[in-house]
């Protein structure tokens, strides 16, 4: 009976189904208001008390448990079986790429009966969804987590770092990390700091449309990521997704310079304050950047997997109550990332609280909530004052990467001067000395 209890039905509907000894998947005959319906019992989806059945036509309908309803079980359900397609032969001349899954839309499969989305990313699942992969690489898969990306924590970054490091020590041409898109850019920044001196590419990839849809972007994103990971001349952390809303170009962003910028579009990830590394079009990798570390299998990886979770992000807004900052300090935070306005400002109302934080040994850094552009705190008095208190400007780093870096820095050292120095040092391309004119590309690019 366990399945019925967990099927989402409550109250009257649950009672009636129990009385009729029905379970999810059983075939029912339901009479109500003088009409008779036959179909398979489907788990309850959404609010509401109706009993949902899938009729022979394939349609689901909901029937309210009214007084005159009659439910009769007329057949036992059969569990849906998924027959995986046979694995294609591995072509040993192709590069060896490991695909790791952490969860998210890209690593999910739908149960066509109920519509429930389940995570799945075995090798056979992958080849099933994207048979073309066998022509690009010898693929090996590993499920690291099955998490929606909002549930990923700095602790998971540490684990992921170690798993990746192990694989690299064993020798691979590249790694692809399937990840939920919501916090994928945080993870790409984290890995950029925790995996230094990489010999090969580590490429994060996600999807904005689940892979049960024929229109899913999962396959094209994955193909682009594997192609790039397997053969690009690049070494380091990148993030591969659609370049536009079209399916013909996958763009690879630098791990520390990428941000999710749209709630739903396929091309949600944009390079901020920098240009993308490369794109993959018509199965051809083209490097766009020229300032990157070359792939070198003999390079020795440096693993620095620790992150501190004693870091807070405070977004400045008109009317920000300074006691918010006090609260963090009193609760033992070691670092505060201020998301300032414009060139790098917060109201003078917060000055005392900020001074107090710094006096208590908290590292206070500042990035701009404008996202685009560089912080410059020498232009106005407010900026100069903040600098004089010891606030550290994060130049052209946008707040999310700044936050991750602060977490990583405080995971390396608890000593204030060392932390400040490390924070100011360019580790993984998070700082760039020049701010270039970066035109938004035409938003809708069609054709070839």
């Amino acid at each position: 009976m366990g399945e019925l209890e967990n099927s989402g039905y409550r109250g009257e509907a649950l009672q009636l189904l129990k009385q009729a000894d029905c379970n999810v998947g059983d075939i029912l005959k339901v009479s109500s208001k003088g009409h008779v319906y036959e179909g398979i019992l489907i788990p309850r989806f959404g609010d509401g008390g109706a009993i949902i059945i899938k009729m022979k036509s394939g349609y689901n309908i909901g029937i309210r448990p009214t007084a005159d309803i009659k439910i009769e079980k007329i057949g036992k359900g059969s569990k849906p079986t998924f027959a995986a397609p046979p694995l294609p032969k591995q072509n040993t001349s192709l590069p060896h790429v490991v695909i790791m899954s952490t969860g998210g839309t890209i690593a999910s499969r739908v149960d066509y009966r109920t519509g429930a989305v389940r995570s799945a990313l075995s090798a056979s699942d992958l080849y099933g969804v994207v048979p073309e992969l066998s022509e690009l690489a010898q693929v090996d898969t590993e499920i690291v987590f099955s998490l929606y990306s909002e549930n990923i924590t700095p602790q998971h970054w540490t684990e992921l770092t170690q798993v990746i490091a192990k694989r690299i020590e064993q020798g691979v041409e590249g790694l692809v990390i399937a990840h939920g898109t919501d916090t994928m850019a945080y993870t790409s920044a984290a890995l950029s700091f925790s995996l230094q001196n990489l010999p090969v590419p580590v490429i994060l990839v996600g999807a904005q449309r689940s892979s049960d849809r024929p229109s899913s972007d999962a396959a094209t994103d994955l193909i682009g990521a594997v192609k790039f990971a397997g053969e690009a001349p690049f070494a380091g952390v990148g993030l591969a997704m659609h370049e536009t809303v079209s399916d013909n170009s996958i763009v690879v962003h630098r791990g520390t310079k990428v941000r999710k910028c749209h709630t739903s579009r396929r091309d949600t990830f944009k390079s901020i304050n920098g240009f993308p590394l490369a794109n993959v079009k018509n199965n051809i990798v083209t490097m766009i950047a020229d300032d990157y570390l070359q792939r070198d299998p003999n390079r020795k990886l440096l693993v620095k997997p620790n992150f501190s979770d004693k870091v807070a992000l405070v977004k400045f807004h008109p009317g920000l109550n300074p006691s918010v900052i006090d609260f963090y300090v009193e609760n033992g935070m070691k670092g505060i990332l201020l998301e300032g306005s414009g060139l790098g400002h917060v109201s003078k109302n917060c000055f005392e609280a900020i001074k107090n934080a710094i006096e208590k040994g908290v590292v206070v850094a500042l990035a701009s909530q404008c996202i685009w552009g560089r912080v410059n705190m020498n232009v106005y008095d407010t900026g100069r004052d903040l600098l004089s208190f010891g606030v550290i400007p994060l130049k052209d780093m946008f707040p999310e990467t700044g936050l991750v870096k602060l977490m990583w820095v405080l995971g390396q050292t608890s000593e204030l001067d060392a932390a400040t120095k490390l924070l100011k040092t360019n580790i993984a391309g998070e700082y760039s000395p020049r701010t270039l004119m970066q035109e938004e590309k035409l938003q809708f690019e069609g054709g070839q």
């Binding site: 109500s32 909901g62 739908v110 109920t114 229109s215």
Partner: protein, 631 residues
Amino acid sequence: MIIDYAKVGLKVGLEIHQQLNVNSKLFCSCPPELFKEEPEITFLRRLRPTQSELGQIDPAAFFEFQKGVKILYEANQRSSCLVEMDEEPPHPINIDAVEVVLTASLMMNMQPVDEVHVMRKTVIDGSNTTGFQRTTIIALDGWINVKDKKIPIQAASLEEDAARKTGTQDEGKTIRYRIDRLGIPLIEVATAPVIYSPKEAQEVAFAIGRILRDTGKVMRGLGTIRQDLNVSIPDGALIEIKGVQALDLISTVVEYEVQRQLGLLAVKEELAKRGVTAEKITSDFTDVTSIFKETKSKVIRKAIDKKQKALAVKLPGFAGLLGRELMPNFRVGSELSDRAKFWGRVGGIFHTDEMPNYGITAEEVNALRDAVGAGDGDSVVFVADTEENALDALKAVVERSQEACVGVPAETRTAKDDGTTRYMRPRPGAARMYPETDIPPYEITEESIAKVQANLPEPADKKLVRLIGQYGLNDKLAKQLIDSEYNQLFEEVVKNTGVVASTVAAFLTETIKAIKRDGVETENIQHNQIYDIFKAVGSGSLTKEAIIDVFIWLSKNEAKTVQDAVEALDLKLFSESDLALIIDEILHENKLQIEKMGKNAFGMLMGVVMKKVRGKANPELVSKLIHERIT
């Protein structure tokens, strides 16, 4: 051909689709509008069959995917947002649209479902950016009476309309679709397959169409209504015919389809008699490009100039059969050609049953026959295109020819304007449907049903009696009005313009029908334009005689007003003083006659004046002015 349909065992089921006239699309707030201009936005996609259900994948779609077919979508900002582009999840279902379907359902004695669940029906030909069509059942299990026969209505659904195909490019490898139509709410009404003659199919479709119209909330005009017909005969096959746009074409479509199936069964018998079996038709293709080196055939010349190939295949024992007519202008050869076009992306095929012709000489035909080893009893089919396309085309020809030995292949066909049908695609497998989890279920409460029930439009039979009583219409006119799409407009016009009911009724039925027969595109005229015409007549600024001219002018001049028509046609009424001057002049010219005839000259004078001022003066006023002057 006279066919005894009962004897043949014809069974027809109908699916009537009609766009709903509500303010926005089904799952977003875009207006339900199409655009004609160049697209502002284009984007390229590929749809991939999802492997987990490989056994159920639509073979045509899988084939297109393997061929690398891409879809280029066209959009503009006015008619589409990110939802249609599959770049944003759908918004909750449009409640107004649900209510229209509820209204129609209750008029068809159906039981609404308690809770509406939106489903995804997999469609990967590109007509839906998502790769599925969103569809939902609103009510089940009803009936309507048609000519005293109870016709069961199985289901009333609400679904999103698909994108419309606007062309292909890159040798058929890229299909263009325009997404303006995508998401427009459609009602689908499905009958049980209990219709036994072409005429009855048309009557049932007509009855359902009238009910939908009576809701007052469906779109009108070309392309807003599409009937799908499921036609079967016992020895033939179940054929799904898509997209019959005109109601009065339905009986013809069914007739032709029965003819086609009977014709194919006769071909099967003839092939059996000749000893031809499917096994004897093989995919042995011969490269015959060299035979056409010096050809005068333009089509083949063009292909050879582009360094493409001519390939040929022998169809043993088919001589004379390919020219056999199955429907008007549609032969057995057309069956092969349709398949070749679909699977091979070619413009068409040639076959020896129609040779020598099209610039192809008898010598070339002989060389062709020799090349494939064809005897007198055999036919040769050949095609000139890229090697890949030509191969795919001939494979399709062979497959279709093999099927001819077995009978009628089950397939989906599309209806042409003349009532004939063309191959569209193979029948999709069992439709794969799974829940659209992005849209919450929508409950239909007893209260909302009661509210719709209380406001149901008047049933047609009651309305007929009322129209006769209330407006003094005769029986025939009232019936015509009920059957027309104008019966609501009629009452509005009569109530608000003061024009005599019988004049309005006659125009909205007989006159419009007559000018439509004469080729005027009456569907271009909006109801509010007709209303404005009568408003002008009622207020005395337009004469009754000018109604037809204004109507015809408006049908040819899109997005213009009655005022524009009056100016363009120079129908502005003469003022009374201008009219008086004209009449005075005519009286002067006819002075002698008037002196001779006295008052009796009136009829003659009326004729002369009206000839001069017709459409620009009210006859009553002319009559008054003449009377004043000759007494």
